[in-house]
Symmetry: C2
Subunit: 336 residues, 2 copies
């Protein structure tokens, strides 16, 4: 490239159009650490005393956030949940284990199939939910459970700026006021449940890939095969086109929302529940009859997915996606 | 196509994926009229007694909205403002005049160059503003002036769903709360100033083009040459891609905003001005020293543009765009 690091004028390894600058490896890492610190500080995400559990998928974001937090001096263990998505899950587990082993870190492991008797492809088929929905519900439940069992104060996930901006984009396209009002990078602790934070909200996918490359972290590059073609990825693509035209748009969309729109929405929700003479979010929670987790019904969403999926014969991801692929090609070939 | 009209099962001339249906010419026109009626009714845009002035550019939207309003029984005259944008303006004027003449309608004409001593290319150069900004300010001023002089109660513009959704998209990407709070298809009358309404907010560009084709309205197809490459068109393109993936997204984005988000924003702005012990929008307006229009300063924005532009030698659109084209090609050729 011949371009120079903004900080030291040495040879640059990455250009960041959003910052209108190039950086060498050392000062790129410094920029990433600074952005994570800034996110942690502005949203009171972590204190040095926290016992942190990082949800690790074996992809770039979760390994990078674990690495950065350790680098910044935090105490953080990892948690890997095996989702049973064929080769994708097998390979992702290897990456997570290798990262932890090479650094002598503690990695807790849970297997949905071995420990709970089902997997995500089967759950998707059995519950007729889109895979990402069954998967999200399962992960949230298992992350909470593991954090409580291990006595962790905070659960960290590797959601980055692209992830959060894409979710915001979807919620905005639908003007889903309740979802918008809840979109925030910190969820406070509630009862036994740990605080949940997203320290990578000021960094992009591309930056996290670069972090891993510079730090020689071997991560799983592939997207989850079950996510291919979902709306989340379409929203990311739309935002990437806008970003390419006007560098900085994505960050200003997401961070501008947090700064200017989120307070308006929270005030509006608060006013609404005042009007309703209602102290909390208006829903009273009991304990799940099966696992004890708080739920508005008798049995929590995870235990319902688990029960339905365990009663179903196992479905492999190959069979599930094969069927999908066939449906898609028929639809394309049909006269319109 | 072989597809059938949803209403009469006759041969369809247009498919509307958003409505998941096809329509023949007659029932397509009926759908358009129904959508305009629905917009007029839901936002109290017009009453039968109104004296309406339609701002006509010679493009599909403004000719269609004039046609539809007459069709629905309203009394509406046209207003054409010559902006001095070379051939584009000459041809657009011919379309507006032909439409009015063939139907025996009254079309008021204003020429920025002849009546005010400048044109948009010159204003853009002289004021160093992007052309669409100088043009918008000028049109708003001249529309108001013409409506007041002619004793009209309502000014109608042909802004369609694509236009409004694209503006909303831009304001949302920046989370510009004040602009968002003001985005509404009706602006009430204020002092001598007419009410302003946008009856086409439930219809798309493509539908308005189809309306004109079916009704044999000869409109100017070209986009304004000065708008090419602006962000508004990029936002339209982004929304069109999302719409292609999920038909109905664009309408639900814009109409969902009006239904669910606009009330939250208006309540928030009202609460803010209550807090500030401030009755109105916080800005006191005097009369422009030059034209008498209300302005927060001594001279209104239009009269300032006019004064600066009149002092500048005339710039043709060809010269202005020629320069732009050259700059763009140099930028593309430069090493990054």
């Amino acid at each position: 490239m011949g371009s120079k690091c903004r900080t030291c004028r040495g040879p640059a390894i990455i250009d960041l159009p959003r910052h209108n600058a190039n950086f060498c490896a050392e000062h790129f890492l410094e920029l990433c650490r600074r952005q994570v610190k800034k996110a942690i500080d502005s949203f009171d995400m972590l204190v040095p005393e926290d016992r942190i559990l990082v949800a690790v998928s074996g992809g770039k974001d979760s390994l990078a956030v674990w690495d950065i937090l350790l680098d910044l001096g935090y105490r953080a263990d990892g948690l890997y949940v095996g989702l049973g998505i064929g080769d994708y899950s097998d390979v992702s587990a290897e990456h997570a284990r290798a990262f932890a082993a090479e650094r002598g870190l503690s990695l807790r492991e849970i297997s949905l199939r071995d420990d709970y008797g089902f997997d995500i492809p089967t759950a998707s088929k059995a519950t007729r939910r889109v895979p990402c929905s069954a998967c999200g519900t399962s992960k949230r439940h298992l992350f909470d459970e593991a954090a409580i069992e291990g006595g962790y104060t905070v659960l960290v996930t590797g959601h980055n700026l692209d992830d959060e901006a894409a979710v915001l984009f979807g919620n905005t396209l639908r003007w889903d006021i309740d979802y918008l009002a809840r979109q925030y990078p910190v969820l406070p602790a509630r009862g036994r449940f740990p605080k949940k934070v997203k320290p990578l909200i000021r960094l992009t996918e591309r930056e996290m890939a670069a972090w891993c490359i510079v730090r020689k972290i071997d991560y799983l590059v592939d997207e989850c095969p079950m996510a291919v073609g979902n709306k989340h990825l379409a929203y990311k693509a739309a935002l990437n086109e806008i970003e390419a035209e006007s560098p900085g748009s994505k960050a200003s969309f997401y961070l501008g929302f947090l700064e200017r729109m989120a307070p308006v929405l929270r005030a509006s929700i608060a006013a609404r529940s005042d009007d309703a003479d209602d102290a909390g979010d208006g829903v009273s929670l009991g304990a799940c009859a099966s696992c004890g987790a708080p739920t508005p019904g008798d049995v929590c969403a995870f235990c319902r997915i688990a029960a339905t999926s365990r009663a179903h014969q196992p479905v492999s991801v190959e069979v599930l996606l094969g069927r999908r692929g066939r449906t898609a090609s028929v639809a394309q070939g049909s006269p319109s």
